[in-house]
């Protein structure tokens, strides 16, 4: 059973705004993301309005505010993939999944991430889904590939 948020909070004893970022990091480390409920608890604990916490959490790319999907898509946008047109694949994924890069689909099936380099430049452009790699990716294949993941 994961630690309760109140247990995480109890490690932060100053109870002031300087602890906000470390608390958000600790919560994310424990749960993999920062839930709405946890933001309200942090809000009560530090006496910082939830709108402000949300502002901070969305400002830093490191924080995730949705649970990761069942399948995680890492689309490579490193130099080699970029040269081979990976940028053009982003909107295709976004349209197919109906969610933006960095987000999770409404049904919780996929999370779409953009990553700097997967280290598989020979296959560029390349996408990694869970433990599978798909190289020389073309827009036309994306639909079919995604269908494999339930």
């Amino acid at each position: 059973m994961p630690t309760k948020i109140s247990d995480i909070l109890s490690h932060f004893t100053q109870g002031n705004s300087s602890e906000l970022i470390p608390i958000l990091q600790a919560v994310q480390a424990e749960y993999g993301f920062i839930s709405e409920e946890s933001v309200y608890e942090i809000s009560e604990y530090l006496n910082i309005p939830s709108s402000k916490i949300y502002g901070v959490a969305t400002f830093y790319a490191q924080f995730r505010l949705q649970p990761p999907g069942r399948h995680v898509i890492n689309l490579c946008t490193g130099t080699a993939c970029h040269v081979k047109g990976s940028e053009k694949l982003i909107p295709v994924f976004e349209q197919e999944l109906k969610c933006k890069a960095g987000e999770t689909t409404k049904d919780g099936r996929f999370t779409l991430n953009l990553v700097a380099c997967l280290g598989a430049c020979a296959l560029s452009p390349v996408v990694n889904i869970d433990s599978d790699f798909y190289g020389n990716l073309t827009a036309g294949e994306i639909k079919k590939i995604l269908r494999k993941y339930k």
Partner: protein
Amino acid sequence: MATSTKLLISKPVNIWMNDEPMKVEDTQTILQVARNHGIHIPTLCYLDEITPTGSCRICVVEVEGFPRPVPSCSTFVKEGMKIHTNSPKIQAIRKVIVELLVANHEMDCLYCERNGECELQDLAKIYNIRDHRFLGSKRQNPLDQTSMALVRDPNKCILCQRCVKVCDEVQSVHAIDVTKRGFESIVTSAFGKTIHESSCVLCGQCVRVCPTGALKERDVSTEVREAIDDPNTIVTVQVAPSISVTIGEEFGFPIGTDVSGKLVTALKRMGFDAVFDTVFGADLTILEEANELIKRITENKTLPLISTCSPGWIKFMEHEYADLIPYMSTCKSPMSMQGAIIKSYWAKNQQIMPKRIFQVAIMPCMAKKFEADRSELVNDGLPNTDAVLTTRELIRAIKKFGLDLKSLPDSKYDDPLGESTGAGKIFGASGGVMEAALRTAYWLVNKKNLEHLEITQVRGIEGIKRAKIQLTPELTVNCVAASGLKNARIICDEIRAGNPNNYHFIEIMACPGGCINGGGQPRGMDLEVIKQRAQALYKLDEQYTIRLSHENTAVQRLYANFLKTLGSNEAHHLLHTHYYPRSERRH
């Protein structure tokens, strides 16, 4: 801390602004000095009385010896500074800032409510922006139309953060913040919740300071127009106490001019079938509320009694201080009381089927749109109010109708819901409800009137005004009037902490200074203007022949012929309401 030390010790310094020598205090910013000397520096994010965010940079000036231009709104003057506010370099910088703002702005000025009165447009004009030098992608965020009162168009937002600061520092609601970053940045509530889902109380104070068309009221003037044009509908209208002393400003009258008579003419010409004064409803509220106060005191019931005229305050209380519900007055607001009476008493006297009546209220308030929509404010299946127009919507409607307010003759409000008193008129200023209620409470316990009607301790634009008023030798009522939700929060915390000041009676208004500074009033935030509007109301009070709510003869007839007695069953059915918690405290 640094700023507070600054405030304590102020010393004179010599500076030069645009080569002119000046002797000024070092507690002033470059911007303040410039304004005091008639030098205009443009600002987009700066607001008086609010911590500067320094986010827009349009106010930059050159200071000799400084490597870079500095924001004048947040830079204090220092001995020997040589400042240039409008050098060619500064003009060029400002032009680029405006060009960048324009580059990703949805430029549909012709369709925009702010066309002609938009601070971004003004700047584009001043800096002579004539072509699209930068081609930026435009943001395409959905319009937030989820609320009955407030509409947010993120694509017209220039991220100046004025709204965020006002919501934080004036109202302490903390409903919104700038979230995400870069091109994606957007002002929203936590977890991108819509206005409707958020804890926003719809006070509209943010709307009054927004420089662009990003924040506005939900405009219902078309619905009202359609009702007027429908021959089967009787359209009645009531006008809130503060409107007559604020609307004139937009038609060239000096600040604080009372234009009641012309306003009534304008509304009649626009086709309203009956034009009533909400001051009547205010007088009615006073009778019910003063009665409630005296009852609660003499019968040793729950105290303090807290006033409930301000719907933004009610929503705030329901979100964050629902534990205080037992203290709330059960009285509906003047608007809703008046609406209930129009659709019952007046309809009966006129032999009109109540369901044929479309009741419009002209209000200085955006939250009144939300109040009108509350499901409790319904009698016999009909809402007390069908549509609320803010002062701003009425101004636009009058202009659209081709009426020149200035040259209209005066007319009188329709009887009987047009009869008013000085007591009801001062409802429009913070402290007014309390003053009016105490005048009538005194009469209720002593069966005679106060010798001096003016209760000056609760007048003025201070956010919290305390007073002790002796009603009888044995009974002194401890009162406090608070306006602006930040001040309301202070008082609510006092009550939660056991009411150490032993208040009997509390008046709270969501907007700082009361309705004369309501979220539906003409835009801007100038303390001087608010003072003058308040003074205008108090002057009108002195000019009224009747200055006590219980002496309003139309209200007396209403009780004699219809409601019977104060607090009767009929009165409870039509004039009282209840409240409920909205969520736990979740800013």
